[in-house]
Point group: C2
Chain length 478, copies 2
């Protein structure tokens, strides 16, 4: 009888505790409406008093709607990066399928700036892809959680499900993003303490070429290494220095016979080193001529089909495979992530945002601090190398947005010392791309037949590359 | 009763006639064994005394083994290009699906030198493709016989089913090939007189960049225009001037990040303008370094999968589509064309050749007159333009064998006057490629996402291009 009473008491306590824990998060989420914030960038490193570990259980995703059965756990939820201003980043976390407890932790950032990491989670290297019905999921056997615990973060605030509850008039910029990402990580590790001290990697693409090195630098600067065991950084089609890359992209399009050498020579003659072009100037006109020639293409993969019919199908399209990327995937994803039952299952959009989830927030892309956009990341890369951070930079070779030609210019300017010369690497008995290794733990690799979003177009090759990076083994040869 | 007798008499005469006609061809084909010929190049223009028209009926292919039903007729058989030496070219002819009688006649040549036109007939723009079982065919809805009567010729002699019955020690060369092709055409038009005077086009790819202009020049020189109504020439990834093209291919591979700029600069410094490289020289070594980097690729389409398992399947592979080219297609074709029932149906290999049918005869590729290989076709192109021959040159932009970059150099050297500037063209609501038009009825076009064999990789875009050329209409815009 006493035992029975004790049991009841324990159950009551657990319920009370869960209730209080949920109230803490609910209060902080519902007392504001999601609006632009007015306070400018500030450095905030105070870790929340909320017991993050208790929130973890709440974040467990039982099952995503339409999802096939899997053996790993998924979590989704919010982390406050500025509690007083009510600023929250949404995350989706996928445990590694490996049963041991030592799989590394990898944080993933999409670029833009302003694009959601869920784009990569549900169209690229996450465990599921979304069917053409916008309702059901199919398994991606080449998911990066084959190798690591994958943490997808939607940032900066106002991207995807992430939001702010206070008016916000200052534009987004690199320092604020980096601080928010750092704060996110610190708090998330409080929520998931088993990953403290675990091998940690930063992974990103595109404008993530800024986010990655900047987060890495904060981590090293704050000497947070006791619990953030940063080992390396893998960056795909990253933007490091826009000026040099812009010229590289023109060259790339000439080399692929989409525009003519003469048009580019004409533009270069008129524009000189101008970057931000006034569209009505002579330089703007020359630039526009090039733009017009390529506007009907998907510049993120110049040989891909474009999406000609984005209508959802009543049933999933037949014969859909992960290795044959559907150019309309983004539409299926947008439909899926805006479904009430999906948001509920993912613990997303709990505050009823006054806008739909979308892959990219174009306002952020436009408003993002333009000085930051043109800052070179090359000194930062050198610093990180100096601190023993292992770096793998790679390019899908069909991308005209951050093209392989652009990155070649960047590599030249980085002025690295070749350790192992240019050679092909292999995946599935085929050439996966080419690679060169440099002194200071810096590897460059191309991914053959992939566009900007490498794992969307070449999931097998991307997983080979990722695995090799995580395991710190040379890319396979034959 | 009298009527009955007359009828019997007529039937008997027809049979006698058919018997005699068949004897004429059979005798000429079986009295020799297929061996290399000893007589050198000679100009032979005497048209055979054999009644070609009678042979036509014999050449009718009732049905190819494993073929789906179609409404057009197909023919296959031999035409003697040098009767005294017993030299025969095999042809496969596919009537246009158009029911009117005015569809043009198009003769098609594969390149090599030494590669069979049947390669294009059964893997590219012919009416059928071959299943992975090597036994059955499926329909190609984008076949070029949607628009024209397609005449595929296996040349020069000793390519594919074409053969010679006399020993042959002189190497093959352009003049002999052109003469044989001309003789073939003259005799074939005797066999199919309904095509005399019909709009006639020469179509070719690769080394066909030599065959095409040379045949065209003979036709014009012999003033055969009364019965050969040559209007134009369509050439895909054609080789016109090997020296300039070789450098272009290196540039192409650099631009696509398969080899490095530094390696090519090193090679150019050592090799200068050397073309035929001694592999043991310093230049040879520099060249070999580049070769090694790309030897595991399919250079005919640098992003295509390579064939990793060429084994025939017991049943056709599921979900095979024309728009998804199978990299093992060549193996299915070789199996199919070496089947006894297929050869019988096609009236091929009637003399029991002591070798198998193969896509390319590498001996010819190697032995072909090396001076001819390096002769520039540019003067010939200018001459043909001067005589009002309409020319469309196009490049699949994924080919590294005769790359788009190489052809750009050729175009520059051709020094044409731009009439309509560089712009995209469209096929199926997507960018099919880019095009520029020049004075003198010369059009250049790229085909986006296609390799060396344009219609294999991009059958829809290739048909759009071909149709536009045949109809003499501008390439579609949107």
């Amino acid at each position: 009888m006493e035992k029975q009473q004790n049991k009841s008491l324990i159950i009551a306590c657990v319920f009370l505790f869960l209730f209080l824990a949920s109230q803490i998060q609910c209060t902080s989420q519902t007392q504001f409406n999601a609006i632009r914030r007015i306070n400018g960038p500030s450095f905030r490193t105070t870790v929340s008093r909320v017991n993050q570990q208790d929130l973890k259980k709440k974040d467990l995703i039982k099952k995503l709607p339409g999802q096939p059965s899997v053996k790993f756990r998924q979590y989704g939820g919010y982390v406050a990066v500025n509690e007083s201003a009510g600023q929250f980043l949404y995350y989706y976390f996928v445990e590694s399928i490996k049963t041991n407890d030592s799989s590394p932790l990898v944080i993933w950032f999409n670029g833009g700036p302003g694009c959601s990491s869920l784009g990569s989670a549900f169209q690229s290297h996450g465990p599921f892809r979304i069917h053409s019905d916008g309702k059901t999921l199919y398994h991606n056997p080449y998911s990066w959680n084959n190798e690591a615990n994958m943490l997808y973060v939607e940032g900066p605030v106002q991207v995807g499900f992430s939001y702010t509850n206070t008016p916000f008039i200052n534009s987004h910029g690199d320092s604020l993003t980096a601080e928010d990402n750092y704060m996110f990580l610190v708090k998330w590790l409080e929520r998931f303490p088993e990953y403290k001290g675990r091998e940690f990697y930063i992974a990103a693409q595109s404008y993530g070429g800024h986010y990655g090195p900047q987060l890495a630098q904060i981590i090293l600067h704050r000497k947070a290494q006791t619990f953030i065991n940063l080992r390396g950084m893998i960056l795909g089609n990253p933007t490091f220095e826009k000026e040099i890359e812009s010229k590289g992209n023109d060259e790339y399009l000439v080399g692929h016979a989409y525009i003519t050498k003469e048009l580019v020579a004409h533009k270069n003659q008129i524009c000189g080193s101008t970057i931000d072009v006034d569209i009505f100037s002579e330089c703007g006109k020359a630039d526009r001529k090039i733009m017009i020639l390529t506007r009907q293409l998907n510049l993120y993969n110049i040989y891909a089909h474009v999406c000609l019919n984005s209508t959802l199908t009543s049933m999933p399209k037949k014969y859909t495979t992960v290795t044959n990327f559907d150019p309309c995937s983004q539409h299926y994803m947008t439909a899926y992530l805006n479904r009430a039952n999906v948001q509920k299952a993912m613990h997303a959009n709990t505050t009823k945002l006054p806008y739909m989830w979308s892959q990219c927030n174009d306002d952020i892309r436009i408003d993002y601090n333009s000085t930051d956009k043109y800052v070179s990341m090359l000194p930062s890369l050198h610093k990180l190398m100096g601190k023993g951070i292992r770096i793998l930079v790679h390019n899908g070779d069909l991308d005209a947005v951050v093209s392989v030609t652009s990155t070649m210019h960047v590599l030249k300017k980085l002025n690295l010392t070749v350790e192992k010369t240019w050679r092909p690497w292999f995946s599935g008995r085929e050439v996966g791309g080419y690679t060169e290794e440099y002194k200071g733990n810096f590897t460059y690799a191309t991914v053959r037949g992939a566009g900007h979003t490498v794992a969307s177009d070449q999931p097998i090759r991307a997983l080979t590359l990722f695995t090799s990076f995580i395991r710190n083994t040379p890319l396979p040869y034959m």
